[in-house]
Symmetry: C2
């Protein structure tokens, strides 16, 4: 065990593959977990249902869902209906620049709410599933961003000013998708409950062609395992 049995942690839980793995790691380390999810006007509302399934299956102290409206700002294909989600891009295309599916300041906003929840619940840690390998095109998924948020968190709160301080933990930062999947499977994560697709069918089945599906399927292929999640025919 890396931590004591009494440590509370806020875990950002999107319902996707990465955050389900982060949750399993936090629980394996003996954390009491306050899971936090967001409804943020995203097209993929199925993610929220997946987050609820994952939280219930793995066992958390609490699952808080916060409604936030990022649509007021526009600017991303994930929240703006006038922009198309790209399909069938090659790995080379995905690697160029910041993708259109980037949501402005999303991780900053999510971490800010996590900080509020951590402060109110007395949690000393915030865990999140950012990943510099697969998401190198997103500025707010890099180690320097996570470190800067931890520094901010310790200046922003009672815990930082008066107490024991706050850690921001990103255990997947340097892992590829296949390694993430292998770690999760070793901890018993049921990836059939998770949802990654940016552009799912009405019944929640994944499209298999957007960037998120392609990365996920490539990860399962590299791990030599079939993805148990449902895909559209």
């Amino acid at each position: 065990m890396r931590g004591g049995s009494e440590t509370r942690a806020v875990v950002l839980l999107s319902g996707g593959l990465d955050s389900a793995t982060v949750l399993a790691l936090a629980l394996a380390d003996g954390r009491a977990v306050h899971a936090l999810s967001f409804r943020y006007g995203q097209r993929h509302q199925h993610e929220i249902e997946a987050a609820g399934r994952v939280a219930a299956r793995q066992g958390v102290a609490e699952h808080v869902v916060v409604d936030i409206d990022l649509r007021v700002f526009g600017g991303s294909a994930l929240t703006d209906d006038s922009l198309a989600v790209p399909h069938g891009r090659s790995a080379g295309e995905m690697g160029q620049g910041i993708p259109v599916t980037y949501v402005p300041a999303r991780n900053t906003i999510f971490l800010s709410y996590a900080l509020a929840l951590a402060e109110v619940r007395g949690a000393g840690e915030i865990h999140l599933g950012v990943n510099a390998v697969d998401y190198s095109g997103y500025p707010d998924c890099r180690p320097a961003f996570v470190e800067a948020f931890e520094r901010l968190a310790n200046l922003a709160t009672r815990a930082g000013v008066e107490g024991a301080g706050l850690r921001v933990v990103a255990p997947l930062m340097h892992l590829g998708k296949a390694d993430i999947i292998r770690q999760g499977l070793a901890l018993g994560v049921d990836y059939g409950l998770t949802h990654s697709c940016y552009d799912p069918a009405a019944d929640g089945a994944a499209c298999g062609r957007c960037d998120a599906c392609q990365l996920r399927l490539a990860g399962f292929a590299a791990a030599g395992i079939a993805d148990p999640a449902p895909y559209a025919p």
Copy 2:
């Protein structure tokens, strides 16, 4: 003029005295202002109406109001109906520790939304009215916090990664309330439109007794000017 006439700035506008002054300073410096206000479950909804009046009178390019629900976290007298707003405290009492009216991670959350708006609108600056003199009890009103957010902002966004960078401007940081009022009056701010009270009457009249009213009234007294805002009899 400190800046060019084309610089866009996001100004956090609460409807209070401080942010009305920050807006006037930004406009005097030639900024095109995108004002940003929040409905966050606060008892003092009159602040939002005041923000609208101030934005309209001073003239902004845009006034965005975002609904966010901090009540889900509880923990502050400003958002939790089970906690009482303190009345009639002395300056010495106000100066001790972090007040119960502190909202967990509030300025971090507000700045995160400001960052999203700045990115989408191409604004290179975020202005806010935090003040280390009057609000020394709030951890997220100190210079180190503002500097840490600026650092984070430049790691979190396209502007930081690919562009000209982002400044976080806190022009009132080292000013007392009387100096803020004098600056605003010199720029023509109508403080009769602003609202500071934590516990107003149903018609919006200020109570005159909560911490915010006491600080405001002391500032006007020190500046030798009558407060033009309405107070309950």
